[in-house]
Symmetry: C2
Amino acid sequence: MRAYNFSAGPAVLPESVLRQAAAEMLDWHGSGMSVMEMSHRGPEFVAIHAKAEADLRTLLAIPANYRVLFLQGGAIGENAIVPMNLARGFATASYVNTGEWSKKSIKEAGKYLKVAVAASAEDRSFSYVPPQSAWRVAPGSAYVHVCTNETIGGVEYHWTPDTGDVPLVADMSSHILSRAVDVAKYGVIYGGAQKNIGPAGLTIVIVRDDLLDRALPICPSAFHWQEQAAADSMLNTPPTYAIYVAGLVFEWLLAQGGVAAIERRNVAKAKLLYDYLDASAFYRNPVAPADRSRMNVPFRLRDESLDGAFLKGAEERGMLQLKGHRSVGGMRASIYNAMPVEGVQALVDYMREFERRHG
Amino acid sequence: MRAYNFSAGPAVLPESVLRQAAAEMLDWHGSGMSVMEMSHRGPEFVAIHAKAEADLRTLLAIPANYRVLFLQGGAIGENAIVPMNLARGFATASYVNTGEWSKKSIKEAGKYLKVAVAASAEDRSFSYVPPQSAWRVAPGSAYVHVCTNETIGGVEYHWTPDTGDVPLVADMSSHILSRAVDVAKYGVIYGGAQKNIGPAGLTIVIVRDDLLDRALPICPSAFHWQEQAAADSMLNTPPTYAIYVAGLVFEWLLAQGGVAAIERRNVAKAKLLYDYLDASAFYRNPVAPADRSRMNVPFRLRDESLDGAFLKGAEERGMLQLKGHRSVGGMRASIYNAMPVEGVQALVDYMREFERRHG
């Protein structure tokens, strides 16, 4: 039986995508090969790759002056790859610190340039997004970096920063494709695929053309955006199977009605869970209501000695991976695109039942 | 129908592995999740990861003072990652140039230190491995780098270099697990998985403990061997599904009798094809017989105007991806572990038939 899987990533995928991947595993479309066995330069995989990119462009309405790259290394890899690709001619970059993922980005960037923290939410335990009026972008910054959804803290930007002529770079790993985004407001958007897109091992980079000529000489070719853009992401062998599965997810999203339709569902799913959390004194979510993530909902039981019993009961009911990140404890429900509303309803029903029993 | 797939990589996988992956796609071992959907820190995936590493250690008899890392970026990524991890305190590294893959490694390494070419086979069109007596390792080299199987040129080391106290670093991407190897003779062994192991997107690094403290400060954390070794390759989210499939391939190899048994089969498969090539004046292989690859067999038709007809006939008979690399032309048959002897026999039979018809 398929469980309701609340993992923060790698995370739940649409069941129809998994069924199709299983059915095509030994012989893709009569080719006599699994997608895993195809040369990345053969006509079959080149078509799979091109379709995935075209569908992603449709889903996010990516303007023509942006390149889409399918790379490797995940967001933590990209945390170093971003400055290696953007720092030439600059001494400083500005970072907004909204939590654990921002901190990782800042740590990596410090290897390549001076990091100025434009704003930080550390003063209130990373429970909010600092408003742009409080940002202090360092003069001469190569770019301003934000993490638009903090997977661990459960904090999300529900507005788009305006950094003027300074390129805005966003790690969108854990909410990309969950909501409409105006790509033209960003210089670079990147994300690991394993939260809202597909299998771990694929990194998506969307980069504006004019930012392709700023790489440091030490940037490895495999992670060099300009070289990869010139080679259609095939300078090295791309993670072909992960791209194929991501492509199936893109097709599924289009069939659902695209990003606008999935966003409406995500709003409803998040409201269901937050409304219950706010109505209950038994559970609590620490994030400022205006900045709460629709994708990752951390919560705590008032009586944390019940954590083990809560998780055990959830698992017995087929609700998996609700344990919070080891750095913060408590619970976390990740309710990505592929989590059906029925899964969120089942969770709320169980939380209510558990509260009745132990409250 | 499953074809005989001679792709150089991504390449053929054992059919039983694909069948198992398909059967387990929606629900791995009653967990209610696909392997793609599992948190990399959950007990299910941690067990899959540990089993894959243990089986690889068994297959290659990896000594206890070596760490096994499951990373990303492929061999071209690793070409930069190797010097970023080994160059601290050194100005120079020595490289042996046996063809296209060596050249790529040399190009990347030049971003981080001075590259001394210890020996090159370019004088005879990369058709042989320079004997060690001809190598000139630069004094004070951080390491000596070799590519022990050149996928494009079809040249393979059938002996192990002895570089004394200077660590030997080997790109084994396209023949790892095809033959016994004395790991203790190497400082570092690395390879992309997509040739002889599993899906593209997984890089395997086997590194001796005492080499873990030489990384440059600019080395990204995601590719920092010491940090990844300390985190059991989970500093960032690993390519979980690719590791799972690689683990199935390792189990398949053990069931075949391990590396010694597969090596005997590989010797027989290669002999079948090379014996026919040598007996025929219609086809030719350019590599010195002592240095021919058991994995990648490039060959040319005497009359290259027949190339198209040859490839078309092969495809009609279910023999795919025999076209040579675009940089060298001609044909190439990659006959990795998962290529059954029947596939090589079918190829030889077809080559003989084609020769009779056109010779």
